[in-house]
């Protein structure tokens, strides 16, 4: 599927869900931010962005090594 198609469908789902939320849902949340309409869209969007960028940066700067990092060419010698 093309990027455009997927994003269009997902956006339609979000718009539909916001309409349902506004019209039908009787909100009884523990915290004020859950009472905001569409809070989960924003949280999902920013959260996902944060995770991807955060993880990739951590990986690039600190965590990732070449595949034979531990082996050093000796792992398969028996």
């Amino acid at each position: 599927m093309s990027t455009k198609k997927v994003i269009t469908i997902a956006s339609l789902v979000i718009i539909l869900s916001i309409i349902v939320e506004v019209l039908f849902v009787d909100i009884h949340a523990e915290f004020w931010w859950h009472e905001l309409i569409g809070f989960d869209v924003i949280f999902g969007f920013l959260g996902c962005l944060l995770l991807i960028v955060g993880a990739k940066t951590l990986g690039k700067e600190f965590l990732q090594r070449s595949e034979d990092y531990y082996a050093g060419g000796e792992e398969d010698h028996d």
Binding site: D26, E30, F31, H34, F43, H77
Partner: protein, 579 residues
């Protein structure tokens, strides 16, 4: 005195599995396959026959009683899921010709039931160690150099954890408390030792790296068992021993996010899944830390759901590795055409772990997140929410997309054995069944449940969260493909610096030994001339080298020596006789 209540119809389900393990080890071919299915099936039957409140005790040394079976609602629900999982896992492994693998996996499941049903500390530690010892063979049987090394690291970490637990248990027993009970609120040495021992098995960072190190190296069928038991037995132990220990809330939140971050980077399919064990167990650990009835129910329910969907994920990944021989995400792609059923079953599991409504992850994970809300912990709630975004991102989107869809790599696939399909279908059925009828699970949880996951508000929230995640994933799609790289984790400390340290120490000791040996030899050599026959020196001064040196020339003849001995003997003898 302990009350002994025995019903003749009930039987210890763990014992049935252990007998099954012995039979699987000695019976040939078809009979072994029969015992692999019959033992777990009988064990499920035995669990249904266990009455809540049953206690069996056996007298042991030092006036101790071993409480080998103690059933309450918590241990019953864990026994049920463990026996169901033993059945599914054995069906998945039925084509396996290796009797050793069948035996060790049945022993492993039997051991975990032993822990769950143990009423006293000694029984618990016995079965705890049985699990560690039997499960390592599921890694070693893969037979590669990597798996052998990873297996050794696995067993060393578990022996260390087992010894911490044992030390704590000795303290408990010598204090006159042989029964397993909640230690929440105490802060003595026993508390910390037992917590550390259980935390290693629960894979709480930084003590988690044995899991992500060893599980991807296990056999295809063995990793399915591994993913289901050790960590969940630890979660059971945490619920039993440490409910409401606040430290665990943050430990759990860190776990949930830690696993998610590493999973985004991971390229090895089963290692990615292993990081999601850490993440999902984090939810359960956080629930244990909150300690409210809803939270403890949530942790139990999530462990129950997790065993079903995570084993199904490992079965699907195992099926892909079996069919293609490839384990790296960067080598896979476009498999949905060749493996439509596996794609379907894997998708069910991926939707379950992501907490999509109508699947079983939704009904259990939401309990824990709601419990955080009801306990007024906004940051915990939001961070767990963030971790669920990460779960959806790496399993339902990244793994599903890059493994089965995405770029078609034109891979050749081997035909899968039918038993694998049966096991996966069974797992997928159960994931959906509990998702559609949550009360089947809610009714067997330890505390009464008043929780309704399918509120409109809740469903709308989930849909919004996941749809937004989907958009971000698709925008970053080219960026999400994994590289041919590995990530270092806390196992780095014992695979790099510790290795250097041990090699360094060994080198220093060897150097000292060799240096001193060489010096000693020199010293010895220089003294050798002083121990030579002194007569040798005297004539050399006079005769110099006129005649060739002959040792016998200066030596007493043998006859003379004998004569002298006889004289000395006779003198001594006569002295003894006459004096």
């Amino acid at each position: 005195m302990l009350e002994v209540k025995k019903t003749m119809t009930s039987m210890h389900p763990g014992l049935i599995l252990i007998i099954g393990a012995v039979l699987a080890g000695i019976l040939p071919g078809r009979l072994r396959q029969f015992s692999m299915v019959a033992a777990p099936a009988l064990a499920i039957f035995a669990v249904f026959n266990l009455e809540i409140g049953t206690v069996w005790t056996i007298p042991f040394i030092n006036n101790l009683d071993l409480m080998v079976l103690k059933v309450d609602r918590l241990s019953w629900v864990f026994s049920l899921i463990f026996t169901i999982m033993a059945l599914l896992g054995n069906i998945y492994a039925l084509h396996n010709k290796n009797w050793g693998e069948a035996t060790s996996s049945l022993l492993y499941t039997g051991g975990s039931l032993g822990v769950v049903l143990a009423g006293d500390w000694l029984t618990l530690i016995f079965f705890w160690e049985l699990m560690a010892v039997s499960s390592v063979f599921l890694i070693w049987y893969r037979g590669t150099a990597q798996s052998r090394k990873a297996g050794f690291r696995y067993i060393l970490v578990h022996m260390f954890g087992g010894n911490l637990l044992l030390a704590g248990i000795f303290l408990k027993i010598s204090a006159g408390q042989p029964e397993v009970m909640s230690l929440t609120g105490t802060t003595d040495a026993a508390f910390w030792l037992i917590l550390a021992g259980v935390a290693i098995n629960a894979a709480i960072p930084p003590l988690h790296s044995w899991l992500t190190d060893a599980y991807p190296e296990g056999t295809i069928t063995g990793s399915v068992f591994l993913s289901s038991f050790t960590t969940k037995v630890a979660v059971y132990s945490l619920i039993r021993i440490f409910p409401g220990t606040e430290l665990l809330i943050w430990a759990g939140v860190i776990m949930a996010l830690y696993g998610v971050v590493f999973a985004i980077l991971e390229n090895d399919v089963r290692r990615l899944l292993a990081y999601h064990i850490v993440s999902q167990v984090g939810f359960m650990v956080a629930g244990v830390g909150m300690g409210t009835e809803l939270a403890l129910n949530g942790s139990t329910a999530h462990a129950y759901s997790h065993i079903l969907y995570k084993s199904l994920l490992f079965m699907g990944a195992g099926a892909v590795i079996y069919a293609t021989g490839k384990r790296k995400l960067s080598d896979l792609g476009g498999l949905y055409k060749q493996m439509p059923w596996v794609t379907l079953f894997f998708a069910v599991a991926a939707f379950s772990i992501s907490g999509i409504p109508l699947f079983n992850g939704f009904i259990s994970k939401s309990m824990i997140i709601s419990a955080a809300g009801y306990s007024h912990m906004p940051s915990v709630e939001l961070l767990l929410y963030l971790a669920s975004i990460g779960t959806f991102l790496s399993i339902a989107l990244k793994l599903l997309y890059f493994m089965f869809f995405g770029e078609d790599k034109g891979l050749e696939t081997k035909k899968l054995p039918t038993n694998m399909y049966i096991a996966m279908a069974g797992g997928a059925f159960l994931c959906t069944m509990y998702g559609l009828a949550p009360n089947l699970l809610y009714n067997i949880l330890p505390y009464p449940v008043d929780y309704h996951p399918y509120g409109l508000y809740h469903i709308i929230d989930t849909v919004q969260l996941l749809a937004a995640t989907l958009i971000v994933f698709w925008i970053f799609l080219p960026y999400m493909a994994t590289k041919l790289m590995i990530s270092v984790d806390t196992d780095w400390f014992y695979r790099k610096p510790l290795k250097v340290l041990i090699h360094g120490v060994v080198n220093v000791v060897c150097y000292i030994r060799e240096y001193s040996a060489a010096k000693l030899l020199l010293a010895l050599k220089s003294t050798v001339p002083f121990f030579a026959n002194p007569v040798k020196f005297a004539p050399q001064a006079v005769e110099a080298s006129l005649v060739a040196y002959d040792e016998d020339h200066y030596r007493f003849p043998v006859g003379m020596t004998v004569l002298m001995s006889i004289v000395v003997f006779l003198l001594t003898f006569s002295y003894i006789i006459f004096a």
